[in-house]
């Protein structure tokens, strides 16, 4: 038995919560932003950039495979315990549970088999491999959706990943609501069933594609996580999509004879520094943080977009449809890791509620606008 599979089987014997000690479903990041904005104001509370925020949680923020900091400075802040006490977390160690959630929401965790994700034998078969299973399970995408989206999109794995997460979001809505409410809630179960029954990607009609793209784009723009029908937390949509694309890459296999991992670690013959993705090289995805997988996704998406451009110089219907997925939805993943974006959205909400003055929200909005403006110009 392969060492990883043995580890996976051992992990499967552990009770579920062993991998999820102290987990909460409270949106701790959202509460943190609200708490700090309300107590000290936006300008004072958010006087850091994304790099500084990441540095609070990762040992080496410039590494794709960084471990978590053992002593994250955020827990030493004088306000931390007051903040934690204000949270409706039902756990004996509220501070640990809150920190665990911030690490998970921020994309700082990995998908190591038996450590971060339980992978059983059935999952290994269903997702076409243990590494693929680890990333796909962490992304919270069911095996039937995973395989169908892969089959329908072939080499366009980043678009396939977008389809998979959109379909899973739809399945979540279908299962969470009574059929008689579907119309009022804009839930279209036919889009899911038609997709899963279809064998020809050209026959998924424009309406269904647009609906799925709308669902995904909105989930990406919200930048928050969801709780699924089983009460489990699901990663923010951007990290889900990136993880599914990584799972497709692992499931497809590599020409490289030793792959990119050894066990749960990067293969020693492969580069591990931040520039390891410069040549669009795959990572050892299970060992990489969600943020690192997202960084890889950006490059992979552009690689696939350039393939479309080369193959469809005349901008035919297929090219238009595929490019619409990139520019209409998946490009939002570029910005998902920036705390400036999430903070602006949350403070905008607070301002609309009248919880903070307009100027406080305007500060965060301007900071986010400056960032996107620089990136677009």
């Amino acid at each position: 038995m392969k060492p990883l599979l043995r580890l996976a089987c051992l992990a499967a014997l552990l009770p579920g919560p062993a991998l999820a000690a102290g987990q909460t479903t409270v949106d701790v990041y959202r509460e943190l932003i609200r708490y700090r904005a309300a107590t000290v104001g936006a300008e004072k509370a958010f006087g850091y950039d994304t790099h500084a925020y990441v540095s609070k949680f990762l040992d080496n923020p410039d590494s794709l495979y960084s471990d978590l900091r053992i002593d994250p400075p955020i827990t030493n802040e004088i306000w931390w315990y007051d903040f934690v006490d204000s949270l409706p977390i039902d756990a004996t160690e509220k501070s640990d549970a809150a920190l665990d959630m911030l690490q998970w929401q921020g994309g700082f965790t990995k998908a190591r088999i038996g450590i971060d994700v339980v992978v059983d034998k059935a999952s290994v078969r269903a997702y076409r491999g243990e590494y693929a299973a680890a990333s796909a399970i962490k992304a919270g995408v069911d095996a039937d959706i995973f395989l169908k989206a892969w089959d329908m999109n072939g080499r366009m794995t980043t678009i396939g990943a977008g389809h998979a997460v959109a379909l899973q979001l739809l399945r979540h809505q279908v299962r969470s609501n009574a059929p008689e409410t579907y119309d009022a809630l804009g839930i279209k179960p036919g889009v899911l069933s038609r997709y899963l029954q279809q064998n020809n990607p050209e026959k998924i009609d424009a309406f269904d594609q647009a609906y799925l793209a709308d669902l995904l784009r909105y989930a990406l723009s919200r930048q928050d996580f969801t709780i699924d029908t089983d009460g489990h937390r699901q990663l923010p949509a951007a990290y889900r999509v990136a993880r599914v694309a990584a799972a497709f890459a692992d499931a497809g296999g590599y020409l490289n004879p030793h792959g990119y991992c050894r066990g749960n670690d990067p293969h020693p013959d492969e580069p591990t520094r931040a520039d390891a993705i410069d040549d669009n090289r795959p990572l050892c995805f299970v060992a990489a943080t969600d943020r690192a997988v997202q960084s890889w996704f950006r490059r992979q998406m552009r690689h696939e977009a350039s393939l479309i451009r080369k193959a469809h110089e005349n901008r035919d219907e297929t090219a238009t449809r595929l490019m619409a997925w990139f520019s209409g939805a998946l490009l939002l993943i570029d910005l998902a890791g920036f705390v400036e974006m999430g903070e602006a959205g949350l403070l905008g909400e607070m301002s609309a509620e009248g919880a903070i003055p307009e100027e406080e929200a305007a500060y965060a909005e301007e900071r986010a606008n400056q960032l996107t403006c620089r990136l677009r110009s």
Binding site: V54, A210, Y218, R309, G348, N369
Partner: protein
């Protein structure tokens, strides 16, 4: 020989039968109490909002307005773009034995050129009147439409994705005297011709008359606000004349002076706010002087764009002011 009473009874019976048959075929579109909510609705209507906002991005660049005006002007531009009513309606019909679908997209108000002509892009405009001071109803304010405006709206099709048999951007249409869809006088004025819902009803009527779609289909609509005063009766006209059934679900804006006791209405208020926040955020990001970009631009494909993202994430990029 049949006596007169029997003949009368037969005629009356035939009349009743005819009436009941015609009533059986008259369609009904439910609009009252149809409170939309939830992520699916917000996601769809947010998609509509981006569809129309992106047309403005292209139009502003084309009209060379992206580098002029001051902060007050751009505050009004943003407001004018994120506040109109949006409607998205899916019409499912049968033609030649096949079930087909056509989705109609509309926003309230006149052509973009007409909207933009309301703003003063000269540098002397008072900068103090920003977005927050704009009237909330300004973006979808009642508007009397002219033939010239209709022509401009039609010409602006170049800023939208091309219409297909399945997807149509609905412009303002010339009002035909034989149309069964008439806007009603509200407060003595006919000011609702440019409402998003009415635009779509008229387009469906035109499509039926032109043989593009057939009568007797099913309409499922979503509107970003409670339906306009004229639109309820107009939807009845559409349903009755063309035997159309369906529902039009509406997001309902919160009235700060009342508390919603109906959970469905409260959920609709919450979703309405979520949509507003999302639309405002998109407008804030894309509509600033010297920072409007062409939505069709593909420069993101280059690796330079990734390197810029990575430099920002690493905190190694010099921060210089961008846009106004």
């Amino acid at each position: 020989m049949i006596n007169r009473n029997v003949l009368f009874s037969v005629r009356l019976g035939a009349l009743m039968l005819g009436l009941s048959a015609s009533l059986a075929y008259a369609g009904k579109i439910e609009t009252v109490g149809q409170f939309a909510s939830g992520e699916g609705v917000v996601a769809m209507l947010d998609g509509e909002s981006i569809f129309f906002a992106d047309a403005y991005r292209a139009k502003l660049i084309d009209a060379q307005l992206d580098t002029v005006g001051n902060s007050g002007t751009w505050g009004r531009v943003r407001h004018g773009i994120h506040s109109p009513t949006l409607a998205r309606m899916e019409y499912v019909y049968t033609k030649d034995g096949r079930t087909l679908r056509r989705v109609y997209h509309a926003r309230s108000g006149p052509a973009m050129e007409v909207v933009l002509s309301r703003y003063d892009f000269s540098p002397s405009t008072d900068a103090s009147a920003g977005e927050s001071s704009a009237n909330e109803s300004e973006g979808s304010r009642p508007y009397e439409i002219s033939d010239e405006d209709i022509a401009k709206d039609f010409a602006e099709r170049v800023y939208y994705p091309a219409d297909t048999p399945f997807n149509v951007r609905v412009p303002n249409l010339p009002l035909r005297s034989d149309s069964v869809i008439q806007s009603r006088l509200v407060g003595g004025k006919d000011t609702h011709k440019a409402d998003a819902e009415l635009k779509i009803f008229r387009q469906i009527e035109a499509d039926i008359n032109d043989g593009i779609v057939t009568r007797g289909g099913t309409l499922t609509g979503y509107v970003s606000k409670a339906m306009c005063e004229s639109c309820g009766p107009a939807s009845e006209d559409l349903a009755e004349h063309f035997d159309i059934n369906g529902t039009i679900q509406q997001l309902v804006e919160r009235d700060k002076n009342t508390v919603a006791l109906d959970p469905a209405l409260e959920a609709s208020h919450t979703s309405s706010e979520a949509l507003k926040n999302s639309r405002k955020a998109y407008a804030s990001k894309h509509f600033r002087r010297n920072a409007v970009t062409d939505p069709g631009k593909r420069s993101w494909i280059g690796l330079d764009s990734v390197k810029a993202l990575e430099a920002e994430e690493a905190g190694s990029k010099a921060i210089e002011p961008c846009g106004d």
